[in-house]
Homo-oligomer: 343 residues x 2
């Protein structure tokens, strides 16, 4: 298996990307995982020399002369910069040299590169980012978490099918519970988009649709796959990230400002707190697959450091081993009639 990593994308590129690749290369050395670092050859080589030992036989470098900046218009940048690291990494998959791309750079550019380079699976009109979110008992997949906004009902239906496949094959949840994110449990609660989606989801044969879910159902863990528009999903994702961080900060501050005994006590409680922090840390989850394109594509948080990249390589590995793309292709073909209804 070969993973193409955009070594130039993300706040800490290339050093942390290279470091993560080195950690994964060591961890998966017996698993036949080969890592291809794509980007400026001299920068990557220098980073490898700084952090590696020169013995990593399962890491190679593939030169790409350009980089897409966070502030560039994604579609235009991907079209113009044909030698951008993310574009070249994607073409390695397209050409069959690699199985899956990993990118921590601009999400917009990543989605555009994947769409242009790999194309969509037949029957899927818009790909979706499927982000794992921790809940009280495990993990909930939220999709779309930011690839597309103003989705039509049929796009949400496609999200439901893809999310269920990912949850089943990669998270090992048999018959995952799929819910439609809205503002009340009753079928009549929601905006126009959601009201038109509900009856379409009910008609699906391959999806265990449990009906409407509300915001509070995500952390509760009463649903495995939450279907929503990328506008809503992205807001929820970033709000959750910020809220978790704020709560942990408030706990630490309230411990700091309290008396001596509490301070001693808190030192003993800190390990528990750090365990919780780990549970809530996106770096542990590594990356979120872009579902619906013809090939593996894992999108990482812009501030990914080595640990996140290492874990993204694990996600890429599982995604490829489980052949998620083929499962989506087959299921979409089976459900074809329904997904093309709606407006």
């Amino acid at each position: 298996m070969r993973v193409a990593i955009d070594a130039m994308g993300g706040d800490y590129a290339p050093d942390e990307i290279v470091l993560g690749a080195l950690q994964a290369a060591k961890a998966y050395v017996n698993d036949d995982v080969e890592i291809v670092l794509v980007g400026d050859q001299s920068q990557i080589t220098q980073a490898l020399e700084r952090h590696g030992n020169g013995k990593e036989s399962n890491i190679t470098v593939h030169h790409a002369s350009e980089v897409i900046d966070m502030h560039e218009s994604p579609g235009a940048a991907v079209r113009k910069k044909k030698d951008a690291s993310v574009v070249v990494a994607t073409s390695l998959v397209k050409q069959g040299h690699c199985d899956v791309v990993i990118c921590a750079g601009s999400t917009g550019a990543a989605v555009a590169a994947a769409l242009l380079g790999l194309g969509r699976i037949n029957g899927i009109e818009r790909p979706a980012i499927a982000t794992p979110m921790p809940n009280l008992t495990g993990t909930t997949i939220l999709l779309d978490s930011g690839a597309n906004v103003d989705s039509k009902p049929k796009h949400l239906v496609q999200n439901a099918i893809m999310g269920a496949i990912y949850a089943e094959y990669v998270l090992n949840i048999p018959s995952p519970r799929v819910g439609l994110l809205t503002i009340g449990e009753e079928e009549s609660k929601g905006n126009e988009q959601v009201l038109a989606t509900y009856p379409l989801l009910k008609q699906l044969n391959t999806v265990n649709f449990i009906g409407n879910v509300e915001g509070r159902d995500i952390p509760k863990g009463t649903v495995d796959v939450v279907v929503c528009d990328g506008f809503v999903g992205n807001i929820v994702l970033k709000f959750g990230e910020g809220l978790a961080k704020a709560i942990l900060q408030l706990i630490k501050e309230s411990i700091k400002t309290s008396g001596f005994l509490t301070k001693v006590a808190s030192m003993l409680v800190l390990p528990a707190l750090n365990g919780l922090k780990k549970k809530l840390d996106y770096a542990e989850y590594g990356g979120a697959p872009l579902l619906g394109v013809n090939g593996g594509f894992i999108i990482c948080h812009g501030s990914s450091q080595a640990k996140a990249i290492k874990n993204a390589i694990r996600v890429a590995k599982e995604f490829t081993e489980q052949d998620v793309v083929a499962h989506i292709r087959e299921t979409i073909a089976k459900e074809g009639v329904v997904t093309h209804e709606g407006n």
Copy 2:
């Protein structure tokens, strides 16, 4: 000042509503606050006898024979049940007998009763629920948090104006920072609704518009008023409530399952944790005003207990004292031209 409380609305009505009213009556006995409990006379009187001492001269009961159930269609129920507690409470304000309504029953029915009973402020097309959310440094107002979905850009503009007034006069934030909730900081990031709203917000004279904000800005406290569609706001609100609850539960569990020393330590840390819980508890905030109708109307969480109702009465008091309705009326008239642009 007279507050009309729907004593029959909410999961714990009438007992907890009556209990909250009794606590507020005691706390505000010198503030000239009179509380009118609206609903089934015998049930309310019995609750008053159970929890009160018969000496509450600032509490009266106003009989209403009907109740609107959580599962009834709000508009139809309000029209049909003319003697429903929430309808009667609203009419007490309409007729000038009371200044403000408090309701913990069905939010949909509350909004419908307010719209039908009080009408909209001239220039406001859709009222909005302005919910206070705790952040690292204080409070952020989120509106709309569920009164309306599929809002047009001009409705979001009206939300911005109303939210700024509430933050300034009730939360005492001078020149509150108003942000538009979307998926990126740049003006170009968002769905159709948000992209069309941005230029309209820039044109406002009375609003300190700081541009786009993301989900993570709410807990960070980098914005005082967050403007969004009621669909998005309601999902964010319920997700945040659920996530905060889940995190506190996880901390308590991880302390429970750890060793003896940690358990002792945790007993000392628990007060800090409970302080945090208080900060995150909606009951402390009491209620969220429905802005844009011709009169005071405070909406409470369905599971409000006495403390929430008592605090809602404080919110109702401040809302009335600060004459928020008059300020909205004046400002909307001033900004009139802009709010009627857009589509």
